[in-house]
């Protein structure tokens, strides 16, 4: 089984290598020259026992210099480590057995205090830093580390910082990668472990640095205990479509569990694949997920509402109760009118 899996994964990796370019998951790419073009990303967000396991890959495109990305996080990660070797490729095989043009990314690439550094990890040629701060602080940190953010960055960073001031910055040193012997197409998977009440995937950040009509192409895999409720619901016309939604097969779960750092994968689960395929201007939201079974993904987490507005505090059950009470009141009024209505004159 392992031999067949590795052969299949080898084919997938070969396909990925043929479409060279640095790739990373749901992060906005920033470069020293400020010109960035993110073509396609793949992300896995698994949720089990109150912990989101976020796996993403950073792929080496060759050339020199450095580039990086900023990924908003829903909370402070408890761990950031090198991800498994085949998790993302195995997921692709599960939902897209024939891999074509799978992974490709290219890039032409009042004094504020800096963000607080919560965690620093070196993973291969990646310098990963978890930051806490507002848009100004995180932007300052990026600038001070030699990166020029694109012009939409102030608004996008603010969009995230208002909800969670935690960001993961990954700086890829291509020269260091070359020294390590990493070849074009070699990816560096990163596994971020985040305790949170519900999984969440940032999507708007994918449009960072893009003009309104530029395409955003990404695959988001979700593994949850039961079928999740998503907000916005992928409709196809809103820049997202639902490509897969079914119980995860035992074979998939076993394969995922056998990868590095994936022993947390449960015996059963629900696999969802959301394809992001739209214009940058459509991605004004994030993907809020409710894996609890209550069917109430957060409007705030989706970026459709600001924190403290109260919409998230009203559940569908409460809405139903309010509607029933309203209907009852109308019925009572109607009944009273009928009871007290004077008899018509003969």
């Amino acid at each position: 089984m392992r031999r067949r899996l590795m052969a299949a994964l080898g084919a997938a990796v070969t396909a990925a290598i043929l479409t060279v370019g640095p790739t990373l998951a749901c992060g906005g790419l920033i470069g020293p020259n400020g010109a960035v073009n993110l073509l396609r990303t793949t992300t896995f967000a698994g949720y089990h026992a109150g912990v989101e396991h976020y796996v993403t890959a950073f792929q080496f495109a060759g050339g020199g210099g450095a580039f990086g990305s900023i990924t908003p996080l829903p909370g402070v990660p408890s761990d950031v480590e090198k991800g498994g070797d085949w998790t993302l490729q195995r997921l692709i095989l599960e939902t897209d057995p024939i891999v074509e043009d799978s992974l490709a990314l290219s890039f032409a690439a009042r004094p504020a205090g800096e963000a607080e550094v919560l965690l620093e990890v070196r993973i291969d040629a990646l310098d990963v830093t978890v930051l806490k701060g507002g848009a100004a602080e995180v932007g300052r940190w990026a600038t001070n580390h030699g990166f020029r953010l694109p012009p939409d960055a102030p608004e996008v960073l603010d969009f995230y910082a208002r909800r969670s001031p935690i960001f993961l910055a990954a700086v890829f040193d291509a020269d260091a990668a070359a020294e390590r012997g990493q070849a074009i197409g070699d990816g560096t998977p990163v596994h971020i472990t985040i305790p949170t009440t519900n999984p969440w995937v940032p999507l708007r950040i994918l449009a960072l640095g893009k003009t309104g009509q530029e395409r955003v192409d990404a695959s988001v895999y979700l593994l949850t205990g039961r079928e999740p409720a998503l907000l916005p619901a992928p409709s196809g016309s809103n820049g997202m479509r639902l490509d897969h939604s079914a119980p995860a097969s035992p074979a998939l779960l076993a394969d995922l569990r056998s990868d590095r750092g994936m022993e947390w994968v449960p015996e059963s689960g629900w696999l969802t694949k959301v394809a992001v395929d739209g214009e940058a201007q459509q991605l004004s939201y994030d993907l809020a997920i409710d894996a609890s079974g209550q069917g109430t993904p957060s409007w705030v987490a989706a970026g459709l509402d600001v924190p403290g507005s109260g919409i998230d505090r009203v559940t569908p059950a409460q809405l139903l109760l309010i509607a029933l009470l309203g209907l009852s009141a109308v019925a009572l009024l109607h009944l009273r009118r009928r009871v007290w209505e004077p008899p018509a004159a003969a």
């Binding site: 400020g34 504020a112 100004a136 932007g139 300052r140 600038t143 694109p150 012009p151 003009t211």
Partner: protein, 140 residues
């Protein structure tokens, strides 16, 4: 002393005249001010259009509230064409070309000698396309 109901219309007329001739209201039509404040937030100039008098030193107070660098370059289309392809790293030698590091405020005093309409643009990569464009109307 006149009755109160006679004082009302006259007071109203005085207020209307005072407000109507105040620089702030004139500014809506001409805005002949010697100090002009321009803020930058979310990579947008605000206001995007200002009016200044010809032959008078005008101090521009340029406030960059963004965590990224910007620049403010005012001039004719020839100037902007040069800056679109320029690799000059520092512009601050000319009052019409101001670099604005993140979260800073800079001032620059310019005396415009010709009436007309000049654009101010941030020429950092991608910023003009994003909409960082404004207009200075120079009036007699």
């Amino acid at each position: 002393m006149k009755p109160a109901h006679f004082r009302g219309p006259r007071r109203l007329l005085a207020v209307v005249l005072a407000v109507g001739l105040s620089p702030s209201v004139l500014g809506c039509a001409v805005q002949a001010a010697q100090t002009v404040e321009i803020d930058i937030r979310y990579s947008r100039f605000s206001p995007e259009e200002v009016t200044v008098p010809i032959g008078v030193p005008v101090t521009f107070v340029l406030r960059n509230d963004d965590p990224i660098d910007h620049e403010w370059i005012v001039g004719d289309e020839e100037i902007h064409a040069v800056h679109r392809t320029s690799t000059e790293p520092i512009h601050d030698a000319r009052p019409t070309e101001v670099m604005l590091p993140a979260m800073t405020t800079r001032t620059s005093t310019v005396t415009f000698q010709q009436p007309g309409r000049l654009r101010f643009i941030c020429h950092l990569p991608g910023h003009e396309a994003y909409g960082m464009i404004g207009v200075v109307n120079i009036v007699p």
